[in-house]
Amino acid sequence: MNGTGLRPAWLALGLLLLSLLLLVLGAGVGSTGWESVWKILAQDPADPLAWQIVRDIRLPRTTGAWLAGALLGLAGAVAQGVFRNPLADPYLLGSASGASLGVALAMAALGVSPFALQGLLRLGITGAAFVGAAAAVLLTLVLAKGAHNTMRLLLAGVVVGVVLGAASSMVLLLTPEIMQAMQSFMLGSTAFVGWSACLLMAAVLVVVLLASWSLSRVLDGLALGEATAQSLGLPLAPLRMLLIVLLALATGTAVAQCGLIAFVGLAAPHLVRSLVRAMHRWLLLLSAGMGAVLLLSADLLARWLIAPQELPVGVLTAVLGGSYLLWLMHRRNVQEIS
């Protein structure tokens, strides 16, 4: 797939403007609609509830969806660069299954719903998701004997994903009372993202973005093959390990806060590449922006489509992302035939 000739800086500007528009929309989409926003703008002191709805619920979840999408988009671009595979996604190293197992174990131990509680218990469950994701990636690295062999790493990731997925199923089987709560996690949700979660995701996004951007030349070199990258004097083994740590950090943080959200990490870099021709220094930044816009759009749709009820955002991203990939396959087939 090739870019259209659009300049990366223009796409970045477009994504920024779109993000601002969606963030504003996010303040007004919900059960009470724009009414709460008008009340705040009219400075109605008699309605502290409107303030609470907008400031403590809508704005953090809107910001949280943007940040989680950015983390997943960035992680997707890193994964596709490290594995030199356009079908690589952030969950490839088993982090999704690890996070699920961590949450399942935490819920089974605590016997509570992850999204029904605040404070320490919620922190404990999001922490368990992060620890689960990080442990799964670590296990993948151990099984693959490091990060130097891409094929072994991919296979180890698949094995870890399958085994930990089976372990999660076993936990669910033994503790059926957590089934509904686990479903919320598996389908993804931004409903319970608060300002503290936003702060954490923002900090991780800045760190991962800066660190991966500084390693963008490694990803550029890798695009020409490992041997060529090595011949260009790039110390591949330690740098690839560092990139995988960044990938795990970004994915683990997003999954811990919002559950499993499909396709954003896979589709965001593809969408960017279909619009611009860019080296990784731009691709990473733009994929983060595209991921943010994708997840926030899906989240707004999920809140708006059957309002006042909500669809799980992960379902929407799966449907939209899956349709996009099918269209991509169709377009490639047509191009190959013609």
Binding site: M1, L224, G225, S231, R273
Partner: protein
């Protein structure tokens, strides 16, 4: 005795196994500086493995010296500035532009987060012009044919401006006119003092080199100047006398031997 600096590359007792099978066996070789050496041999002789080992991409036993200094003593970037490598069947991201791919050859010259300098841009332009790729510098690799891509990848290797250039099957997908252009490019590089080592299946093109290394079963069967009768005999021998080397219009060419050789 020839001083070490006269040798661009030296391999001493080099052994490499792939998947448990020995590919190079206790191989010793010296590549003269400022000359073009071609490595030839039948399939499976270990040509590509030898080139990778000479480029520092791994060997089990023995040692490789670049300009008289063992490869492992070189810093990664310093080595990359001195020795460039062009592999066969290189994959490249289709989304990258021709110019950006060639610019990757300048990585060893640039500081970690530094922008390309005027010198880098000049080197890339020169390399792209040398391979007649300059006109489509703005296109992406995905829009090019196999031969055009190969020329861009060659430009990437040339952009390094290394003193030693190793090329594995650089003529793959190139049509005869561009093979001739490649030949002129190599001759020009050698005239400027660059050491070129190439693995070639086209024996007639390999015979244009100054020196020939004939490999068989992971060992050097013969090494010598292409002009030597002994080198040409070794060449015929390693291909089981199924080719014959003849001089046509002042050039040595390899032809298939259609009838059994008379005793």
């Amino acid at each position: 005795m020839t001083p070490d600096h006269a040798w661009a590359l030296q391999a001493e007792g080099l052994s490499v196994s792939l998947g448990g099978q020995p590919v190079l066996r206790d191989l010793t070789l010296r590549i003269a500086a400022g000359r073009w050496t071609s490595v030839v041999g039948p399939n499976g002789a270990g040509k590509s493995t030898l080139l990778r080992a000479l480029a520092g991409m791994g060997h089990d036993q023995g040692r490789v010296l670049l300009q008289g200094r063992e490869l492992r003593q070189w810093g990664g970037r310093a080595r990359a500035r001195t020795l460039a490598w062009l592999g066969q069947n290189q994959t490249a991201a289709n989304d990258m532009s021709v110019y950006d791919v060639a610019m990757l050859g300048r990585l060893p010259h640039q500081p970690w987060l530094g922008a390309p300098t005027a010198q880098d841009h000049a080197a890339v332009e020169q390399a792209l012009r040398q391979t007649q790729s300059w006109d489509w510098r703005g296109r992406s690799l995905g829009q090019l044919s196999g031969g055009e891509r190969q020329r861009v990848l060659l430009a990437r290797a040339l952009a390094v401006q290394a003193q030693v250039l190793l090329m594995d099957e650089p003529l793959a997908n190139l049509d005869p006119p561009h093979q001739t252009d490649w030949l002129h490019c190599v001759q020009e590089l050698v005239a400027q003092g660059t050491t070129v080592v190439s693995v070639l299946h086209e024996i007639s093109m390999a015979l244009q080199a100054q020196d020939l290394v004939v490999l068989a079963q992971g060992r050097v069967l013969h090494q010598g100047a292409c002009a030597d009768a002994g080198t040409r005999q070794a060449l015929e021998q390693v291909f089981d006398e199924r080719i014959q080397v003849r001089e046509i219009d002042g050039q040595w060419v390899a032809l298939p031997r259609l009838s059994p050789r008379s005793a």
